[in-house]
């Protein structure tokens, strides 16, 4: 069973297609990074998963529960940290968490204090949220998302506006959540954040999922970068794979299936070339991301 399974999700706002035939499956206990530029349909997808927005077509299941048929059941096992916190400024941190916990019928002061402790707000439990800094609100919003001890946690741009210490705390908490057996759906437009904590990703652009899979799989394209003296014949190198020549660095870039540096080095030497530089290059997640975007734009 998948933690989240989406089949052909489409969401229209009038004529505008916010999400377009999106299909996705997220394994349980995984930290899934949902990447895409602003306005690409990330939040709409989350809204549909949580039953806040009604899909125009398609089917969504969370831990095997159909969202359209049982939205409340789904919400009972999900937690959501919204992009703009969504907390009541006139209430204290404690009152906010108490209010949300009441919907589960399991209000427990100890649980609230435990969550406040987790996000580092135990000392300001009785302070009004309107007096909180951006980072404090973000932390409280995370506590709010965990109020029901959810199986799946949705985090919408969770590190926006946080200082480095806050970001580090968030990463630690997210990894701890995974260790506790929770699935984390991490929506962001910040690649470095996703790369840091996620094991798999999905890239969405203009409502379409253009790529998804394990980060390691996305980085599967390998290149051998080589520079020779004198400049080697490009046709000679083509036997190893697709070759490009970079005039600026005077390097050949050979797309390979696996690490073939030894063979390339030997072959060039046998053909009378001296290898000045030879190394394996993996594209960064950024390169994968921008290459994919370039392909679809």
């Amino acid at each position: 069973m998948y933690a989240v399974e989406i089949e052909n999700l489409t969401k229209l706002y009038g004529e505008f297609k916010a999400v377009d035939s999106l299909s996705l499956a997220i394994e349980e206990k995984e930290i899934f990074g949902f990447l895409g530029p602003n306005g690409s349909g990330k939040s709409t997808t989350i809204n549909c998963i949580l039953g806040i927005a009604k899909p125009t077509s398609g089917r969504i299941e969370v831990c095997g529960i159909d969202v359209e048929k049982n939205p409340l059941k789904v919400r009972k096992i999900c937690g959501y940290l919204p992009e703009n916190y969504g907390l009541y400024g006139n209430l204290t941190a404690m009152q906010n968490l108490r209010y949300f916990s009441e919907f589960y019928g399991n209000f427990s002061k100890d649980r609230i204090f435990e969550l406040l402790e987790l996000v580092g707000l135990r000392d300001v439990a009785d302070k009004r949220v309107s007096e909180f800094s951006r980072g404090m609100r973000q932390r409280l919003a995370l506590a709010q998302a965990l109020i029901n001890d959810p199986q799946v946690v949705f985090l919408d741009e969770p590190t926006n506006g946080l200082d480095p210490a806050g970001i580090a705390d968030f990463r630690r908490i997210i990894k701890d959540l995974q260790k506790e057996g929770k699935t984390v759906f991490f929506s962001s437009h910040i690649l470095s954040e996703v790369k840091e904590v996620c094991s798999s990703i999905g890239i969405i652009y203009r409502g379409k999922l253009i790529k998804s899979g394990k980060i390691s799989d996305l980085n599967s394209e390998l290149f051998v970068e080589v520079q020779t003296e004198p400049k080697a014949d490009i046709d000679l190198l083509k036997k190893f794979g697709e070759v490009k020549y970079d005039e600026k660095t005077q390097n050949f870039l050979i797309k390979v299936e696996n690490d073939r540096r030894l063979e390339i080095s030997k072959y060039l030497f046998e053909n009378g070339y001296v290898v000045k530089e030879l190394h394996l290059r993996e594209p960064s997640l950024e390169e994968v991301y921008f290459n994919l975007l370039r392909e679809v734009i």
Partner: protein, 293 residues
């Protein structure tokens, strides 16, 4: 019963808000001023006080109170993003609307009760109120609650229809002006425009009618004129049903009036205080439960 969780939170929010306290204080001041002013004229009775409230202070301040309570009840949640957060917890949208409506109802009850306690206090400083005074005040309370709730429902619907609080407030004030001031002011003109011109006096001068009372043309004219006035009056009173202020004044005057005025039929006005909030609430409910967030 999740709507009760929302109702409890909203009720506490409302009654502890500066806005509620300020408006309540304003209402109390208006009430007390009116009571003391009426008592100073030497009238020792609740009847003139209630009549005075119905036509001025409470009708106006109360209307604003109702509007102020509801204009941002939904927009504020949309703007701050709390609605989205709330909806990710196990609660349906209709439970949120019902919870808010219940909270506002009880807040209005509290406001009315506080005002009437002050009113009673002011009265007892001058004399011991009779059973009739209590009965009158009780009736007035029972009418004032739905009156305030009617204006709340108007603002609540607007809050469900628009995206932000400033637009909601502007529209709500506009509607308030139309219903509280313009409609009562122009209802007679509107009625005359609908019914058409009054029948012409065949003698040109009313002074001559007295001498011609037996003339069949005069009887016919008087009959036509009566019928015309009844049609105008019927339309005017129908239009006034859409003005909660007019309905409220009519009902309060009827509660305390005697003799000829007691015959005024207030059924339509009373019904309007039930039907208008119910219809507006249903519209707000319909809109809110189907709105894309």
């Amino acid at each position: 019963m999740r709507f009760l969780i929302v109702a409890k939170k909203e009720f506490i929010d409302i009654i502890s808000s500066r806005r509620f306290i300020a408006l309540l204080a304003t209402m109390v001041v208006f009430f007390l001023m009116s009571v003391l002013q009426t008592l100073n004229t030497g009238r020792i009775s609740t009847a003139p006080i209630i009549g005075f409230f119905g036509s001025s202070s409470l009708a106006f301040v109360g209307g604003i109170f109702g509007i102020a309570l509801g204009f941002d009840l939904i927009t504020r949640e949309k703007e701050s993003g709390t609605l989205r957060t709330l909806l990710t917890h196990p609660i349906f949208r209709d439970e949120i609307v019902i919870g808010k409506a219940i909270a506002a109802f009880f807040a209005i009850c509290i406001a009315v009760a506080v005002n009437f306690l002050f009113m009673l206090g002011a009265l007892t400083m001058r004399y011991t109120p009779s059973f009739e005074d209590f009965a009158n005040l009780g009736k007035m309370m029972l009418v004032t609650i739905p009156y305030l709730y009617t204006f709340f429902s108007i603002a609540f619907l607007i809050s469900a229809l628009v995206k932000n609080s400033s637009t909601s407030l502007t529209v709500a004030i506009g509607v308030f002006i139309v219903l509280a001031l313009l409609l009562p002011l122009f209802s007679n003109y509107i009625a005359q425009a609908i019914v058409g011109p009054a029948p012409e006096n065949p003698f040109g001068d009313f002074r001559n009618l007295g001498n011609l009372s037996d003339d069949p043309r005069v009887r016919s004219y008087v009959q036509e004129m009566r019928s015309y006035m009844e049609r105008v009056q019927s339309i005017t009173s129908s239009l006034s049903i859409f003005s909660p202020v007019s309905s409220y004044s009519t009902i309060l005057n009827s509660i305390t009036a005697s003799g000829y005025f007691r015959t005024v039929d207030i059924t339509k006005n009373l019904l309007s205080f039930v039907i208008i909030p119910v219809v507006l609430f249903a519209l707000a409910y319909f809109r809110f439960t189907r709105e894309e967030i």
